[in-house]
Symmetry: C2
Subunit: 318 residues, 2 copies
Amino acid sequence: MSSDNVKVAILGFGTVGQGFFELFNSKKKSLALDNVSISEIVDLKYGHIVNPQDDLISNLKPVEDGSKIDVLDIIQKSDADIVCEFTWVNFKDGEPGVSHIRKALTTGKDVITTNKGPIALFYNELKELADKNGRNLRIKGTVMAGTPSFNVMDLLPGSEVKSVRGIFNGTTNFILSRLDAGENFDKALQEAQSKGYAEADPTNDVDGYDAGAKVAILSSLFGWKRTFSDVRIEGIRSLKDSRDRKGYKLIGYADKNDAYVRPVKLDETDLLYHVTGVTNAIQFDTDTLGEVTVAGPGAGRVETAQAALTDLVDIIGK
Amino acid sequence: MSSDNVKVAILGFGTVGQGFFELFNSKKKSLALDNVSISEIVDLKYGHIVNPQDDLISNLKPVEDGSKIDVLDIIQKSDADIVCEFTWVNFKDGEPGVSHIRKALTTGKDVITTNKGPIALFYNELKELADKNGRNLRIKGTVMAGTPSFNVMDLLPGSEVKSVRGIFNGTTNFILSRLDAGENFDKALQEAQSKGYAEADPTNDVDGYDAGAKVAILSSLFGWKRTFSDVRIEGIRSLKDSRDRKGYKLIGYADKNDAYVRPVKLDETDLLYHVTGVTNAIQFDTDTLGEVTVAGPGAGRVETAQAALTDLVDIIGK
């Protein structure tokens, strides 16, 4: 991309959108991104905001007619170079994210997204669409937020990933750490909810869908073509009434033959055994280095915004 | 660098040099490096080999007059675009590596090195020299071989490193793991030597110089200008006759105010506590992600060669 002015549109102004807006503004100078601006924001609650001021968030007010906003039409007409898709996760049909991404890619925009739904379900199709249209599709934030995950392999040219495994969901890892400490399942879940880790409906986390989405995405990225429905997913509910419920981790795994998420009782010599609380971890088995492990946050406002900022700098640097 | 033919010279054809030669040849095709060739190799044992064949290593023979080879003259006259400095480590004056690097940078070559001596002692000066001459100086292999270490921050644009700590020496970590298992110090050291981890003279490892070199290098890279002599170094010999010698790690640490290597008794909740054997680990404390940890091999033939290959692809991709 040239060094001309670059316009960025944000779709979805919840935690991730606001976090990105703030992080972008605070890091813009040190990253010498003076030629980059956030040109518009679209959110069903806050409306369509053009040329937002830096102090936008402290002055944010809901609009009355948000549900009438035609996001696809706004994307179509937008002169943005890059669209950031930060709307809600939906593992059923990927909407509305997948339609936003398709529209952006086919109307001349690069896309950055942290939205696991459309990517877990449709990555291969969307990547083809991006390639066909000569656009970038960047998805760092879909796996472990900003913590280096699959992109670590960019630092290892020539190295082949034989398999990947990890702890890809912080909420369940928190709950399992509490079970290890002797807490019961329901209390641990309530604690996760009161700390804001788990949502009111904890299905996506507890039943393994969120971790399964990441396994599907990793499988696609490493060339083991697979989508969400190809991943065998078992969550942690079976541990609720089990007597044997200590030392488990919700492990996601993929190689060219297999892809699953399930609770696995780990040995204490396994580094992943010691990844506790909401921390995530990814472990690559490679031909040149053997095992490489990365651990760090897998969610959070600034943490996820970092992923989108990494993607943005990556696109602009091209 | 343009996509014209790129010539690479190798200085030092021991474990790392041979490992790199083999890895380069085996990965050349998958990395589409058809325009890159290893044009010459210089080694005091094997002589000056021009346009080596792929099966060189199996036909390798010592030369009689190796000590008469004038490496600096060969660098001067070389038409290589990139010089790989893989000679031996010397923490006293960085020779002969530092002279090789200076000569290469001032005669139009980019430099890749895995040699900790010259970099720990003279990185700031050499980087200035590289910049002044418009050349690249790449040093991935000086910290944790090919395992992503300081270059992980390339994946986190805008993120600030507040401090860095880690386990930067596999030999001592192996010995300390054996002490944890109840072994005595001398036996553990012998075991490390018999496995090929520790050299006959284990000073560089056991007395902390090797780890100290890495702390000096990290300090320079993160802008806390410091050289080898500024790092407070304490090795693990004090644990030899100590009764309290379990649970220690040889921790390297740096921030803007401090830089040290010393044995530290870690708590079991510390992920580094569980990094055992020859594995290395690095932990960054960052403003956007909090704590990020990477663990992997810190030495080895292929593992170190991967670092140089990463640097090579990085230079060529520019």
